[in-house]
Symmetry: C2
Subunit: 453 residues, 2 copies
């Protein structure tokens, strides 16, 4: 395990600074002054940090902006990246992912897959993720080690799951996880994640939400991912998945609805009234042919919408730059309107709006004095980013995760000149490759274990 | 101007080799032997090049595959990347692009923008592009200098255009360009590009196709990009754009139809019968809200379909990895079928099928003895590409242009360890930035010149 780099007061200067604050300020030749783990000042290079004597980071030719918020991940699933593709959701889930997870996900592999994901996230400019999985305490260990910030939820499902062989204990285990991580690491915010209304009973959903409420933590759930979901929910009395969740009393301003693809006007009004937030996951929804979430309508109603990649077994990466591009393009062609989901809107979804949806609006997602120093330096001196008329357009339509040069989380430089300082990357990749050889060697594991689920 | 690197006999070994040949062979621990400008052998590392004494390139942990074919570009337009976004096609074209081109595209800027685009293409693994623009002789100069291969077409349009102030001479100028470049550089294949059926008269279209026929070169045209196009064509007698082109006799196996979005079953049958090829341009069609081309239907009819990015003023980059991901995902969600456009199909569109559509099926697009040595080495030892169960899936759903390590075109190594050897990249980017400052300084240019078009 690598030791985290020190927190060092730093003046970043000479950059085009995208604040992502309320006014969406863009400062040419701007500077950001970081003291300890927080932002002290943001403004023109000529005005900021005049008497500063600490570390100076030259960001000429670069954009400095808040680190990206990836609002939906399943970190350990990087270990299954590309294992099964070009398949329908339910086949992919029931015949490939659930069996693979049952056979291969243990505390040490959850940790390994998470560390691999953290490396990918940090190297592509994500400073905060929102995760839901099993063995989440091992996920949290990996996130903590990597230097990333995370809202990390223990999964709840009414089937035997990795680390939760007896579903009757699922909510209790989630509760114990939340209690264990509540005040353990300021970068880790625990949460509870119910898999979906079709894999959790009404009782489980109510019990899990109640536990989240008592603990004051975010309650997350996949909902309305496909048109078919409505018919898969037992005892919903014909209600839509969203209306069903409302009828159970689990929607409020600490509820995060993931996907929300198959939602009608009435569902949107329910979400709006409940003050719940939505995570839009366009690439996974496209690849699994789930459908297209009516995000422009949500935005018009003032529903907070974050952006996420989903786990890398379905997407197949955690790159928020790609996700921003897909979000911006998809709705234009679906709506036949090239003005919807403009670059600014999408960029805010991936930063300040994402943070707000996760309940971290006061902590991260914009460059403002008093907020945590979660920021990235994107090197724009590349042929595919030249010339630059509009930095927002470039970040959404042309930049890649690999253009991120430096990454700071919580005042700590965790990526410097594209080198990840917190993770033994070679070692982790080697272990992940060894894991995949094991998966490939034993296909019968999948067959044998299918009956369990 | 940089001098092109020498052609050196090279043995590339230790890679996962994707041949993209008829059998779609994938060779673990494979090797490619290059002699002069051609591929001599492809097979397992243990069998290929045993007595070889020349340059050996270790590609352990990498994929070696044919260089990508970007079948639709407007190379000089990189200079306008991000200048105008989130706008409808006709507003973008008439109020922004045409005026900007009229004001700023001259021989030297066409060359500069093209060189910038060539740098971007090569660094993201494209070894062959198909271009249509004006001042194409300057585009060809840049492509030739950069080491890229290209099918490069002089544009024809019935309006004053850069370098063609008098539209009456448009076809003659295209003809002179083709004659000049026909036997000048083995990497440059000249072609003629009519802008569209709504900006070229019936006479122009017929005359241009006739010129292309006499010269034996590819005839390219944007067609059926939007639903509205049908109503924009004068004198089509109510025919669809594709049926109109057929009625003019311009469709045959040396015709490349770009976009083909607003096409019905009858149009597809016309295309099939004519043996014309199609270029699919998904990201540009999405961003401009043009619509979705029925590519799976085209493939079912056996129509050759290539993949292209469009110019970087509309996309906004030339990255074929992003384009492959978008193509694979878009049709799944549109068709509600996650099995369409699987990774293998999309990868072949971007390589061997692309080459076939451009009439270069015997030259490039696959790794086969006798073909030109146009190949790329993609470094898969990255967190977002780890572990690797299926290289085809990774290349389409997870890889980025920045994962391309080495690029060989025509037997010449033009990118080595991500360093572009043929272009003074810093100098070109500096000049492009200077160009953009000029564009930004004189907004009246756009207003003044609008009347000309």
């Amino acid at each position: 395990m690598t030791v985290l780099p020190d927190v060092t007061d730093t003046l970043i200067q000479g950059a085009t600074v995208l604040s992502m604050d309320q006014e969406n300020r863009i400062i040419e030749d701007g500077a950001v002054l970081v003291r300890g783990d927080r932002i002290l000042a943001v403004g023109p290079s000529s005005e900021i940090g005049k008497d500063f004597t600490g570390k100076i980071l030259d960001a000429g030719g670069c954009v400095v902006m808040p680190g990206l918020v990836n609002a939906h991940t399943h970190l350990p699933m990087s270990l299954f990246r590309g294992l099964a593709d070009d398949l329908p959701l339910m086949v992919w889930l029931n015949e490939h992912m659930f069996p693979a997870e049952a056979a291969h996900i243990r505390p040490e592999t959850a940790w390994l897959g998470s560390l691999l994901s953290c490396a990918e996230l940090l190297l592509s400019g994500v400073t905060c993720c929102c995760d839901g999985y099993f063995h989440e305490t091992d996920v949290a260990r990996a996130v903590s080690e990597s230097g990333l910030r995370g809202v990390l939820a223990q999964g709840v499902i009414d089937y035997p799951a990795p680390g939760v062989p007896d579903p009757a204990t699922n909510v209790d285990q989630a509760l114990r996880y939340v209690e264990a991580w509540k005040n353990r690491d300021s970068r880790i915010v625990p949460s509870i994640f119910c898999h979906s209304p079709y894999t959790c009973s009404a009782d489980t959903l109510k019990k899990a939400k109640q536990a989240a409420r008592v603990q004051g933590v975010l309650f997350q759930i996949h909902v309305a991912e496909t048109e078919g979901e409505k018919n898969m929910i037992q005892c919903s009395g014909g209600l839509s998945p969203v209306a069903y969740l409302e009828s159970l009393g689990v929607l409020d301003d600490k509820t995060l609805l993931i996907h929300a693809v198959a939602v009608d006007r009435h569902d949107l009004e329910i979400i709006q009234k409940s003050k719940a937030s939505v995570v839009h996951v366009p690439e996974s929804n496209m690849k699994l042919a789930s459908g297209v979430s009516p995000v422009p309508d949500m935005l018009a109603l003032g529903i907070p919408v974050a952006l996420g990649t989903d786990g890398s077994a379905s997407n197949n990466d955690l790159d928020m730059f790609g996700e921003m591009g897909s979000a911006a393009r998809l709705h234009k062609v679906i709506r036949k309107d090239p003005t919807v989901m403009d670059a600014k809107t999408v960029l805010r979804m991936a930063t300040c709006e994402g943070a707000r949806a996760l309940g971290l609006g006061d902590v991260t997602g914009s460059l403002e004095p008093g907020k945590k120093a979660d920021l990235i330096v994107v090197d724009m001196r590349k042929p595919h980013l030249t010339p630059m008329y509009n930095p927002q357009s470039h970040l959404v339509y042309s930049a890649k995760g690999s253009d991120v040069r430096d990454v700071m989380v919580d005042g700590r430089m965790v990526v410097e000149n594209r080198r990840l300082l917190t993770v033994d990357l070679e070692g982790v990749m080697e272990q992940a490759a060894a894991f995949s050889r094991q998966v490939n060697r034993r296909p019968q594991d999948f067959e044998d274990l299918k009956g369990d689920l």
